[in-house]
């Protein structure tokens, strides 16, 4: 009786201690995980639904992200002062010609620049995809964009498939479009 009691007590103690230690370690682990990921895209992760927005392009046409459900959306944030943005634009235009018919839409979101600058740029590089201007940076804020260029690849289900920061080669772009192409 006494030895059995003792054994039980010992078992309980080990369980109790393990539970307390596990809880504390989990709390610390979660904190570290949060702090490590805080620098990156804080709110959005791969697999999250892409926040909906509505912006107007240079022709005055409104583009609402949710209207493109069923298509892949290649959401590129850019500015004319950002060198890698400029470099990848012609490649995007090339691939758009290939993938537009296969159900991939490019939306290039300019960060709060003037109509004149964006129009001049689009004309100069002969850009064939819609360019919208995020005048109050609200879409940039909603997507928590830090460095430019950042490209959000949105799959036909409206979820973020991939987040790309930095310059993409034409090969990269083709590969990404393949990823978000509807079946």
């Amino acid at each position: 009786m006494s030895t059995e009691k003792k054994r039980n007590k010992k078992k309980n103690r080990t369980i109790m201690r393990s539970v307390i230690l596990l809880l504390l370690v989990a709390a610390i682990g979660y904190t570290i995980y949060n702090s490590v990921t805080a620098d990156e895209v804080e709110v959005l992760k791969v697999g999250d639904p892409a926040p909906d927005f509505t912006l107007t392009d240079l022709d005055g046409e409104t583009h609402k992200l949710s209207d493109y459900k069923g298509q892949g959306v290649f959401l590129n944030f850019w500015g004319t002062w950002c060198e890698p943005c400029i470099k990848e634009m012609p490649a995007m235009a090339n691939q758009y010609e290939v993938y537009e018919d296969q159900g991939v839409q490019i939306l290039a979101v300019n960060i709060a620049q003037s109509n004149f600058e964006v129009e001049t740029f689009a004309r100069q590089y002969g850009l064939n995809f819609p360019i919208v201007i995020d005048r109050d940076k609200s879409v940039m804020t909603a997507y928590n964009i830090r460095p430019l260029p950042t490209t959000m690849l949105v799959n036909p289900q409206g979820e973020i498939q991939r987040i790309v920061t930095g310059e993409m080669t034409e090969q990269d772009i083709a590969g990404f479009m393949e990823e978000i192409k509807p079946e």
């Binding site: 610390i28 620098d39 879409v139 804020t141």
Partner: protein
């Protein structure tokens, strides 16, 4: 390990030094001591008794006060090292790669190591957070390991202690007594607000036991505080962002979804030193100007729940507000602080279209640098067409003008000027104080006339939902400190032995002077034998022995 059964019949947990019930020393080492170690009532610190499984070993590691102090020391050293080079938010670089390069470029290999080890962002480096977490574990486990046995021991204590226990107490009195002694002592002790319990031939008087819980209450406060700090890292609990907004701009507020801010204007006022402000005259003479007010006038808009980001037509005006230093604009848990400003950024530039030879003007045009137009029509059919605009011109690349930033710091314009004299048009590239005529000499030029400027306000966006938790933690911490510092746990044990003589022992966790003052009163009232302080006696004896040696 087996339970320790005391001669009095009480079962003590293994590792106990003094019997929980009667106080008899339970091991030889303790028996040989002149004074009992009363720190945890001679209870078994559980950590030091079971040491079998890996869980027990981890538990015991964190239970050690030495380990806890060690962690604190390491944290202090790390925090000190973190102040040697600037933290990353004070470094003139924004991207991770630039920040890393900055440390290497400026501080050499020391900087590289500093960055690699995470000292540049100390409070967010995983090992620092890990150490703080270990400190939290140590606080919790060390407290549990001490509080539980101490609580049990004080709950189980008997009135009648063994004489060996009493004789090992620091305050001790032995001597004759009479039939009234115990009763009178009880009277006086009750008078002095002691809780007195009696049993057969003895009494236990106790006061302020709750002061023993002070350190544990204090630790609970610390744990709550650390929990609050941990919550800051969760999304939605803590926001500390910077928003630069220029006069006339409308910007979404970072990390405040659904809110948009418009800047109506920035004002910097200085004291004139005249009239009522004469008292500032001396200071103004000494330093030039004295600032009176930094202010940004803003309008707050809210995007309705069902509207989408970018849907600027749907915005609803919430409030107009003037943000001044130390007078933040508070709304919905957020606060906007006036933190910084930048004056006189370019807003518009005016030019006159002039014939280079005659100086004759075809009229003036003003280019809005924030939102330029394409065509500027002047007198008699002259037109200036803007072909390209580079707000922060940084040079040419493959013949193309480049802009370094979107801000009009160093605007460059590629223009085509058409006049009745030059119907084919002339092309010119204009920057501040420099004009390039890429397609040959022109007859006309754009002569600089003037600029308009605007100011930019640097605002801090802050939200802190953890403040009530931090406040609660701080309050409990202070309660624990007060509990442990300003109150003492005092006890007297008095026994009348078979021959009628009195045995008295006293103990307190601190403030022996106060304990003795209480005892003086009791001694007088109940005619108790005179007491002695055994520790003072021992010290005095050591001193005497020391003197004899020299």
């Amino acid at each position: 390990m087996d339970k320790l059964i005391c001669k009095c019949g009480h079962e003590n947990p293994p590792g106990t030094v003094l019997c929980e019930s009667c106080g008899r020393p339970l091991n030889e080492q303790e028996q040989n001591k002149q004074l009992a170690d009363m720190r945890y009532e001679g209870t078994a610190r559980r950590s030091q008794t079971y040491n079998k499984s890996i869980i027990d070993k981890i538990w015991n590691f964190f239970s050690s006060v030495k380990v806890g102090v060690g962690i604190i020391v390491v944290l202090l050293i790390a925090a000190a090292l973190g102040t040697i080079l600037p933290q990353k938010q004070y470094v003139p670089a924004t991207t991770e790669a630039d920040i890393e390069a900055y440390y290497t470029d400026i501080y050499g290999s020391v900087g590289t190591v500093y960055h690699a080890l995470g000292f540049h962002d100390l409070y967010n480096s995983f090992w620092f957070i890990g150490l703080v977490g270990m400190l939290a574990i140590s606080l919790i486990i060390a407290s549990l390991d001490r509080f539980v046995p101490l609580y049990k021991s004080l709950k189980n204590q008997r009135v009648l202690r063994h004489s060996s226990f009493m004789r090992k107490q620091r305050i001790l009195a032995e001597g004759p007594g009479d039939a009234e002694t115990l009763k009178k002592a009880e009277e006086k002790l009750t008078d002095l607000k002691y809780k007195v319990s009696t049993d057969k031939n003895g009494l236990l008087a106790e006061k302020g036991r709750f002061s023993r819980w002070g350190p544990y209450v204090n630790h609970i406060g610390l744990i709550i505080f650390l929990f609050g700090v941990m919550l800051r890292m969760m999304p939605g609990f803590y926001v500390d962002e910077t928003l630069w907004i220029r006069e006339g701009e409308t910007r979404a507020i970072p990390d405040a979804p659904g809110y948009v801010l418009e800047s109506k204007g920035f004002t910097l006022e200085t004291y004139t030193g005249e009239g009522e402000e004469e008292k500032f005259g001396e200071a103004i003479d000494r330093v030039g100007t004295v600032a009176k007010n930094y202010q940004t006038d803003v309008v707050l808009y809210k995007i309705p729940e069902d509207a989408l980001p970018g849907d600027t037509d749907e915005m609803e005006k919430v409030e107009e507000h003037a943000i001044r230093v130390n007078q933040p604009f508070k709304f919905d848990g957020y606060a906007l602080y006036q933190m910084d400003f930048q004056q006189d950024e370019l807003k518009t530039m005016s030019f006159a279209l002039q014939n280079k030879e005659t100086g004759e003007s075809r009229g003036e045009l003003t280019i809005d640098l924030v939102n330029p137009e394409t065509n500027y029509e002047l007198e008699d059919g002259s037109v200036v067409e803007l072909l390209g605009y580079y707000p922060d011109f940084s040079g040419f690349e493959n013949g193309e003008p480049q802009t370094a930033t979107p801000l009009p710091k160093n605007p460059g314009f590629l223009v085509k000027m058409t006049t009745p004299d030059t119907p084919d048009g002339e092309t010119s590239f204009i920057t501040i104080q420099n004009t390039v005529e890429p397609l040959g000499d022109n007859d006309y030029k754009l002569a600089f006339q003037g600029v308009e400027t605007r100011d930019a306000s640097g605002l801090t966006v802050r939200k802190d939902r953890t403040l009530p938790i931090l406040g609660l933690g701080g309050l409990i911490f202070m309660i624990g400190v007060a509990q442990g510092m300003y109150f003492n746990h005092r006890r007297f044990w008095i026994q009348q032995q078979a021959d009628g003589s009195i045995l008295l022992a006293g103990h307190t966790n601190k403030n022996w002077f106060g304990l003795k003052k209480d005892l003086d009163q009791v001694t007088e009232h109940a005619s108790l034998p005179a007491y002695r302080d055994q520790q003072e006696d021992m010290e005095a004896q050591e001193k005497r022995e020391g003197e004899q040696l020299t």
